[in-house]
């Protein structure tokens, strides 16, 4: 006999209890501490902060713990929390030239003022599993040197002095906010960059890769990639002065792209820009390439119809909370629309069979 889909409420409660139990896993294994996640899974924490667009390593670590390590689920937890926070205003633009550098490389110049600093990178590690980590061997501290004094100027500014790279127009005072106004097209570059920096790392990586393989080809050099800490300040009109309220770690990438000139522009280099919370260089480089690809129309480039050059395509699909939500909603009940389809298919088949009989 038919049993209605009753008991949904109890099923949900039981599912939540089971989920919580599974999250904790074997009780003989010690519970993960938030600080352990923050310190030892720092790049996962960084990704959650970047795509969650909320700079708070402890909350991101908590979200990762609650999400059982599912990064997109953790991003979702952070976004749903972030949306409840009051919006006081905007910070002043951060000065990345004054960054306390932990890593800074250029692929275009062998050396430049400020030097090349490899920093804590996987780049030249051999990807051999380190079985010592299984036993939690003590790790000796890394050798240290004195930090460089003074600001480290952007490498692309050297090209700028020669007029070889397109100057960026000054930003407007009004900072658009993707989370407070619906996205409308065409979007200005500031809004595009905002969408990209929250966008899914995997999606941007694939899009950037597609430009390298010829879908909107525009060869990019990493003019500069820098990771480090910057100070964040805001101007408080009530007080009449600026106040520093945070120090955050960010990754910045400026790509240098060839541009052969168009009817309106002389031949010069152009720039793609990526800026991401935390240490997220794969994302920052991808973002720079996609940013540059999205400028195809503005620069009057021919053949500007590759996916990565299509603003509406990229911005409508880069957010992993939107895309995973809509993708996964198809597991919700669709009995009613499926039933309607079922009846339609039966009717069409019946009509077709009758037509066939009549023809014979």
């Amino acid at each position: 006999m038919y049993v209605a889909v009753k008991g949904g409420e109890r099923a949900i409660d039981n599912a939540h209890a089971w989920l919580e139990d599974a999250r904790r896993g074997d009780r003989a294994v010690p519970d993960l501490e938030i600080a352990q996640i923050r310190e030892q899974l720092a790049l996962a924490v960084d990704r959650v902060m970047a795509e969650g667009s909320l700079y708070d390593p402890d909350l991101a670590a908590l979200a990762l713990k609650q999400a059982r390590g599912d990064v997109i689920e953790a991003v979702f937890l952070i976004r749903a929390y972030r949306t409840t926070l009051p919006r006081f205003g905007s910070s002043l633009p951060v000065d990345t030239g004054a960054m306390q550098i932990t890593r800074r490389i250029s692929a275009t110049y062998k050396d430049a003022p400020g030097g090349q600093v490899l920093g804590p990178t996987f780049d030249y590690t051999h990807r051999l599993l380190d079985f010592d980590l299984e036993n939690g061997q003590p790790v000796p501290p890394a050798p240290e040197a004195d930090a460089q004094a003074g600001p480290v100027p952007h490498i692309l500014s050297h090209l700028g002095r020669e007029g070889l790279i397109q100057a960026e127009p000054a930003g407007s005072e009004d900072v658009p906010d993707l989370t407070r106004a619906p996205l409308e097209f065409p979007a200005q570059r500031a809004l595009r960059l905002q969408a990209l920096t929250r966008g899914d790392e995997g999606f941007l990586l694939s899009l950037a890769y597609s430009t390298q393989r010829g879908y909107g080809r525009n060869h990019a050099f990493v003019g500069e990639l820098r990771i480090g800490h910057v100070r964040v300040a805001a101007y408080l009109p009530e007080l009449g002065f600026e106040i520093e309220f945070a120090e955050i770690q960010i990754t910045e990438c400026e790509s240098v792209n060839q541009f052969q000139g168009s009817k309106t522009e002389p031949a010069q280099f152009t720039r793609g820009y990526g800026l991401v919370f935390g240490q997220s260089e794969r994302k920052a480089i991808s973002m720079a390439l996609v940013d540059r690809a999205l400028r195809a129309r503005e620069l009057g480039e021919d053949m500007a119809d590759a996916p990565a050059q299509d603003e509406e395509f990229v911005l409508s699909h880069c957010d992993n909370i939107q895309s995973s939500g809509f993708l996964e909603h198809i597991k919700l009940p669709h009995y009613v629309d499926f039933q309607a389809e079922l009846e339609l298919i039966r009717k069409l088949r019946c009509a077709a069979a009758q037509g066939l009989e009549a023809a014979q």
Binding site: M1, Y2, A4, V5, K6, G7, G8, E9, A11, I12, F76, R79, A80, R82, T83, T84, P86, T179, R180, A181, P182, L183, E184, F185, P186, E312, S316, I321, Q322, S324, G325, F326, L327, E328, H329, I330, L332, P333, H334, Y335, V336, D337, Q339, A340, E341, L342, E343, L344, K347, L348, A351
Partner: protein, 282 residues
């Protein structure tokens, strides 16, 4: 729960939503962009509907939530619990007792009344989306009332299948102007949209769109003179539980030998009829 405002959203957000609702009511069938918030449930789970409900709820309201016509499907239970928790409003399963009904994929069988609000969860608000993927294009098409593409699409269905092969999310025209997606309700429900005494609100959270049908709006399902629109459901079947002939039916597989039965998708309608029959029998 005091950490959150009444009905979860802060008042500034509700004001933004109410402005969008007013605009939507003023231009029936027009999709109003709004700055959709991230909600504590995923996009695709009804975030648009939840935001509309949150913006409309007052403490005196009685809320009903259905999914696939049923009050006890998991997502309906989840949304009802959410509002019971963050707004402490009364909830009900009785269509007639509700002041706000949030729904996914159905319109209740019992006729709605003046003063009620029916909130639809909408996945893809743009009826032209599957003909033209670009928002910039479809907005222009609506502005110019350029609906030829849709007519051609429906005509092609007839040429190929002998009828319009759309079983749900069947497009409608509102007050002779905007073509509107009624959300994925079965076309059986389309006639209920027309001249409805209740206010009907449609929310698409992920797509940042709100649209509305004010009470007693003229809503016509698209068709041709020689191929008129016909609402359809399981042919020649009645509900195995309450015997209703006039309700939309779900097909349920009962064994692995092709056995099946049909039952009302609207659980409140079905349960009410069963209760009346039991009373009459007693």
């Amino acid at each position: 729960m005091t950490a959150y405002n009444f009905a979860y959203l802060d008042e500034a957000t509700k004001r933004m939503l109410r402005r969008a609702i007013l605009k939507a009511v003023a231009i029936p069938g027009y999709q109003v962009p709004f700055s959709s918030r991230e909600m504590p449930m995923p996009y695709g789970w009804g975030t648009g509907g939840v935001q509309l409900t949150a913006a409309c709820l007052v403490p005196e309201d009685t809320l009903k939530v259905i999914d696939q016509g049923a009050d006890d499907t998991t997502n309906a239970v989840s949304i009802r619990k959410f509002f019971a928790r963050v707004a402490q409003v009364a909830t009900t399963e009785a269509t007639g007792a509700a002041s706000i009904i949030q729904t996914r994929h159905r319109i209740p069988e019992a006729p709605l009344q003046e003063g009620q609000i029916l909130v639809f969860q909408v996945p893809i608000p743009e009826p032209l989306r599957f003909l033209e993927p670009r928002e910039t294009e479809t907005r222009t098409m609506h502005a110019l009332e350029d609906y030829g593409l849709m007519q051609v699409r429906l005509y092609e269905d007839i040429a190929r299948h002998g009828e319009i092969a759309r079983a749900y999310a069947y497009p409608v025209r509102v007050e002779g102007r905007y073509i509107m997606d009624p959300s994925p309700i079965p076309k059986f429900d389309n006639p209920k949209l027309d001249n409805c005494p209740a206010l009907q609100l449609f929310g698409a959270g992920r797509e940042c769109r709100i649209y509305a049908l004010p009470p007693y709006t003229r809503v016509e399902s698209l068709d041709f003179e020689d191929y008129p629109f016909t609402p359809s459901k399981a042919a020649g079947q009645c509900c195995a539980l309450c015997g209703a002939m006039d309700s939309y039916l779900d097909e349920v597989i009962t064994d692995d030998a092709g056995g099946r039965m049909f039952v009302c998708s609207d659980t409140d309608y079905c349960a009410t009829r069963v209760a009346v029959q039991a009373e009459d029998a007693a």
